[in-house]
Symmetry: C2
Subunit: 346 residues, 2 copies
């Protein structure tokens, strides 16, 4: 398997030389659908599009006051964790957030620091088209789809999601130390060994920041050989009556997940990550990130950041087929590695 | 390497289940550029387009008489072989045709059976934009580019080639026995062990048949693991004054080529080819084949068939990068196979 390891490594490095950019380029206006398909979707490359949301009323309207008045009484799904780490790795567990039904007003109270100090981090992030399903009153402030993207792909988005959360809420996260220092949250079930991960989706993703700022770390699918995977028992957080959290193990088989923290990668444990070439970018209010399917990503946000994203399911064509080959090779190469090692990266 | 062999085999079979068609579909009219990009170029799938050339004067004009009158005195490059096999494998050689400068009239004489019986097969097939470079007088009868394809790709073709040849001239070929029987050619330097091959190009290819018919055997790039390669010493044919041919070895290192004859595959020698799934199609006068980049192909034609093709260089993006990985894996897996075997297929 050493030979395979060598070849997939060469392949990954070649991708960077051949067609990938060293940073995320900007487009200064909404693109022509065909040009966008050809230059970004087909070659599977990210970019940031400016001036594509200028006509959204949301950009000026979506203040906490407006949201309270318009949809404050609506009950929405909120991800609740002790630390802001939704879908992350803790010890042998892959821990998902507690999902709680709350009014949007009460979430805004927490974000604005009104009322009692919570021992939890709240994040409106349910990825099931929650904008259209749970908050249809807000749809007119944005758009139900991005017309040039829908034209490019020949179909409407599969989901439109609304994101609102605290600075410590991340799709992966800040480091526990930093978070504890700033927010003084209490984490009873996790310790400093809690690691923050990256993940990928099978969607073409247009991520639109309405207010605040989101910071992304992106890794191309071709960097897969350098990204470690482990197998973890699924679990969910549960906040007890005393406010403390416990981790409740779930039934079901172990799930593969990435244990590496891209903000502070443990290169002793995952030396292969030295060869990865993460790209960082900051997406500001009024900007839109095109995050291509199967790109690994890690997201941090400014406090009170509001965003809307559009998910278009990817095409399961030759590129997907090739990625599946790469995945299986990375698994195979590692399976032939030292026994007892859980990582399925190279 | 058995594990790698298993995985690339699974990958190839999955491609057929996932997105490939069992035959080449037809489009009944010239497509919209974006739709064509999305449905055929990006997923790298062939199709035949009807009614896309109806406005070409060439369809009715290009008789032998017209070509004689219009460009008969033009000197053009002609591929000359004893057997119609341009770029094929003979013994340890990869043999390229003798390239001869002839008037188009004299080529037409041969095709029409006028004059003395030739001991050679002639094929106008120089792939260096010979229509625009050598026969610009014919350009107005066709088009200098295919507008919807140029719009789709955002650029003009890299080459426009004119093809005219005998039935025994093939980019690969008929079986030697059939050919000898029908055309009574004399092959002094080759024998029945001469094999006829398939090849691939790094172009998006629009192949337009003006008169006659072309028969293609196509294999997707994902079938690469089932396609044997060997290393061959480059050589060219040279017709001596007595009309007989000799093979002249060229300087330079060995070239990788496919020794398999897809019309009559030797499954004893290349058992892996049992798993390949070649697709056959026939492209008739007035039809256009979209032959995607990196598809392996073998072409036969009806006698006197005239065609024009447009080559647009492929994008060297993620799909090319992935194909290079597949190539290197196929080489690696075979290199670990029995010693002395020249094939670099799996």
């Amino acid at each position: 398997m050493e030979e395979v390891k060598k070849r997939v490594t060469e392949f990954s490095l070649e991708a960077h030389d051949l067609y990938l950019n060293r940073s995320v380029p900007y487009l200064e206006e909404p693109p022509d659908p065909l040009q966008f398909y050809r230059s970004w979707i087909a070659p599977n490359k990210p970019c940031i599009i400016r001036n594509a949301l200028s006509h959204w009323p949301a950009l000026s309207r979506w203040t906490p006051e407006y949201l309270r008045q318009k949809v404050g009484s609506k009950v929405i799904s909120v991800a609740v964790t002790p630390n802001g780490y939704a879908d992350a790795v803790s010890g042998k567990y892959f821990v998902m957030p507690e999902e709680r039904q709350m009014t949007l007003s009460s979430v805004l109270d927490i974000i604005e620091g009104k009322g009692q100090l919570e021992k939890a981090v709240f994040y409106v992030q349910k990825q099931c088209s929650n904008l259209l399903e749970e908050l249809p009153e807000l749809t007119d402030d944005v758009e139900p789809h991005i017309s040039w993207m829908s034209t490019a792909l020949g179909r409407l988005p599969d989901a439109v999601n609304f994101w609102l959360g605290e600075a410590s809420a991340v799709t992966s996260s800040e480091s526990p130390r930093q978070q504890r220092c700033v927010y003084n949250r209490v984490c009873v079930c996790v310790d400093d060994a809690f690691t923050v991960s990256v993940h990928k989706d099978h969607y073409e993703n247009l991520y639109c920041v309405v207010s605040g700022e989101k910071n992304f770390i992106l890794l191309p699918p071709t960097d897969r050989p350098f990204i470690p995977y482990g197998l973890y028992q699924p679990a969910v957080y549960h906040q007890r009556d005393d406010g403390e959290f416990e981790v409740v193990e779930q039934l079901g088989s172990e799930v593969p997940w990435i244990p590496l923290d891209p903000l502070n990668p443990d290169l002793e444990q995952y030396p292969q990550y030295r060869r990865a070439r993460p790209v960082r970018c900051s997406v500001k209010a009024g900007e839109m990130l095109y995050l291509p399917s199967l790109w690994f990503h890690h997201v941090q946000q400014s406090h009170g950041c509001v965003a809307v994203n559009f998910w278009y399911d990817m095409e399961y064509d030759i590129r997907y087929n090739y990625f599946q080959l790469l995945e299986s090779l990375c698994g195979a190469a590692s399976a032939a590695g030292p026994p007892g090692k859980s990582s399925v990266g190279l």
